[in-house]
């Protein structure tokens, strides 16, 4: 009997150690290549980035040099329009979820739909924007691209706004109401203002996410090799330009594609770190 017991204990010990080492191994197997991708992107991008990238427009095929100035301006235009659409609607939805709809069926349905909408592939958003705007207008336009990106921002902003507003303590709201402030005023200047660092970072996160989206722009903004800031014309965008250059056979265009991805990555690292800083270090400290 003791013999058998000892054997079993040994076996269990062995299984435990095997499982532990498997978990460690899989973490290494994941983290090391992923970190390698990241470092590779940064090194490759940094060696390709120069001043021309920010100041020149693309050179014709066969000539070296040139930059992505028009794509950067295009991306800024598109993202500006997207924010104009996504930020107010997203924040409004979040305010509804946190302040008015708590626990109601409508709020649960909205929350659920927002989460599901978040998972709809970006290419489908592009198709919808094409059908909604490009077809009636009969031409590709920056406007259509902006709308597609704006719609994609809404669910993320809505959910983060709700989360941040839920962190604001109730005593703050009641203090405002006790002073005779109307409810709308108390929501806007007390609750939303208290949670504003969190809400702003939520917007930044959504912004960074759509900044790298390519699929919804292919058949809405289309891309453009020249300067264009008009809402009614096709416009260049950084991720689109990366896509076009990555498929080309020219080394110099590949170099520009790497530089472009570094710019995108920097934007994303900034946004993600900011979110992490606000949610964990606690600009809202003491309120959660």
């Amino acid at each position: 009997m003791p013999q058998e017991f000892q054997l079993r204990t040994r076996l269990r010990w062995l299984v435990d150690k095997t499982a532990t080492s498997l978990a460690v191994l899989s973490t290494l197997l994941v983290i090391v290549p992923l970190a390698a991708i990241f470092v590779y992107l940064i090194i490759k991008g940094a060696s390709s980035l120069n001043m021309d990238f920010f100041t020149k427009i693309p050179k014709p095929v066969g000539e070296t040099g040139g930059g992505m100035a028009n794509a950067i301006v295009g991306s800024v235009t598109l993202l500006g329009l997207a924010s104009l659409i996504g930020v107010p609607i997203g924040i409004g939805g979040g305010v509804f979820l946190a302040e008015f709809g708590r626990g109601t069926k409508l709020a649960n349905a909205v929350r659920f739909t927002a989460d599901v909408l978040n998972g709809v592939p970006s290419i489908v958003m592009g198709l919808a924007a094409y059908a909604l705007i490009v077809v009636p207008q009969h031409h590709f336009s920056a406007f259509a691209g902006g709308v597609a990106l704006g719609i994609m921002m809404i669910p993320t902003i809505c959910r983060t706004t709700e989360e941040m507003l839920l962190m604001v303590p109730h005593s703050v709201r009641e203090a405002a109401l006790g002073l005779g402030v109307p409810n709308w005023r108390s929501v806007l200047s007390i609750t939303v203002k208290t949670a504003s660092p969190g809400i702003i970072t939520g917007c930044m996160l959504a912004f960074a996410r759509v900044a790298g989206e390519t699929a919804p722009l292919i058949f809405t903004a289309l891309g453009n090799d020249f300067w264009s800031t008009s809402m009614n014309e096709p416009i260049a965008a950084l991720p689109l330009q990366i896509w076009i250059y990555a498929q080309s056979p020219y080394d110099d265009w590949h170099r520009l594609a790497w530089a472009g991805s570094l710019v995108l990555i920097i934007l994303i690292v900034l946004a993600v770190s900011l979110v992490r800083f606000v949610t964990s270090r606690g600009v809202l400290k003491g309120t959660s």
Binding site: A23, I123, E163, S171, L177
Partner: protein, 363 residues
């Protein structure tokens, strides 16, 4: 994600029950009732009632617009895909045509005007399945390590890295795949696979480019790994500590504690996380388009080139000239929309079932 903060509001039912349990003349009960009366008065005051009503209506409108967006996408896609739906019906998703000139099976021919989505459905399924095969065991391993074994000082940076990798756009993964991953596969991995598993017929040595289902499966796995592992981590942290302590108190080893106390309690949420990862993999466009090879064919070999539903839309939409071609692509988009909605809804429900009511989890 679903961080819920305990309700601090002195809510209506609470005051009433308080008032019931305590005799009404005690100051505490009276005060509670008075508070809520003041509150009601302030909220319903004549002057601000109109402004409040407008404000609330605006916020409700913003929330409702989310429903409107989903409805709008659905109606537009249905409308634009009518042409192909009427021409091919449900056969659109499984019919095989015979090319009149070569006599070989053919599926997608804009010139002869026949369209069948079969190779794209196949490509999407194969690449997503491959990616789950690679990503799921690794992601669960990572989540187990991060929640149960990881020393505290490593947890923060590792979690941050995962978050960062989940946020990198797919175009950048695609770029990396084209210039680093595919050459690696072509030179080292694919020949080895052919040598080891060539007998099964799943790995054939007839594609010298390195592009194809296998490459897209690998890059998709890299992309969905952070998502699956961070969600798995979330549901695992939601398992109450008492469960772990109970199993440990019975003399279990650490692995037995994880298996019985944590994984078993979190399994529904983990399935939800995996399905959510699947949803991402199904709709992923740019990275797949860059490495799958974009040929409308079906082949048994995993190393062959193919095409996925999202990639064919990205590739052909701007070049499509005939109405039927556009409509067929729209129909593929509609199918993708419906499938991802179902997949995501299922996943969300499963994850909610586990994390609901759990204490707020740290990211």
């Amino acid at each position: 994600m679903d961080a819920t903060v305990p309700e601090i509001r002195i809510s209506q039912p609470q005051t009433q029950s308080e008032a019931d349990s305590i005799p009404p003349q005690t100051p505490a009960g009276a005060l509670a009732q008075e508070q809520s009366a003041i509150r009601r008065h302030l909220l319903g005051r004549g002057n601000s009632a109109v402004a409040d009503g407008i404000f609330k209506a605006l916020m409700v409108l913003c929330a409702l617009s989310i429903f409107a967006i989903v409805a709008l996408i659905a109606t537009e896609l249905v409308q634009r895909s009518q042409l192909s739906w009427h021409a091919f019906g449900f056969k659109f998703f499984y019919k095989t045509y015979i090319d009149p000139t070569t006599g070989l099976p053919s599926y997608w021919d804009p010139v002869n005007n026949y369209f069948s989505a079969l190779p794209f459905v196949y490509g999407t399924l194969v690449s997503s399945f491959l990616s789950l095969l690679f990503a799921v065991p690794l992601a669960i391993g990572v989540a187990v390590f991060l929640t149960e074994m990881c020393p505290g000082f490593l947890r923060g940076p590792l979690a941050f890295l995962t978050e960062l990798l989940a946020a990198i756009p797919s175009i950048i993964y695609g770029l990396w795949a084209v210039f680093v991953l595919v050459p690696l596969l072509r030179v080292y991995v694919n020949p080895a696979l052919v040598k080891a598993f060539g007998w099964s017929g799943l790995f054939k040595d007839d594609n010298p480019t390195g592009l194809g289902y296998f490459a897209s499966g690998v890059i998709l796995a890299v992309m969905i790994l952070p998502i699956i592992s961070s969600l798995t981590r979330e549901v695992m942290t939601a398992v109450p500590h008492s469960q772990r302590e109970a199993v440990l108190a019975l003399g279990a080893t650490r692995w037995e504690m994880i298996r019985m106390g944590v994984l078993r309690n979190a399994r529904i949420g983990i399935v939800g996380a995996v399905i959510l990862g699947l949803g991402r993999a199904l709709g992923e466009t740019m990275a797949v388009t860059m490495v799958i090879g974009n040929t409308p064919q079906i082949s048994r070999s995993l190393l062959a080139t193919g095409s996925s539903m999202a990639s064919v839309i990205a590739n052909e939409f701007t070049e499509a000239v005939s109405d039927m071609h556009l409509s067929a692509l729209m129909e593929i988009g509609l199918a993708l929309f419906i499938v991802t909605i179902i997949v995501n809804a299922t996943a969300r429900l499963l994850v909610w079932a586990v994390t609901r009511g759990a204490p707020a989890t740290q990211r």
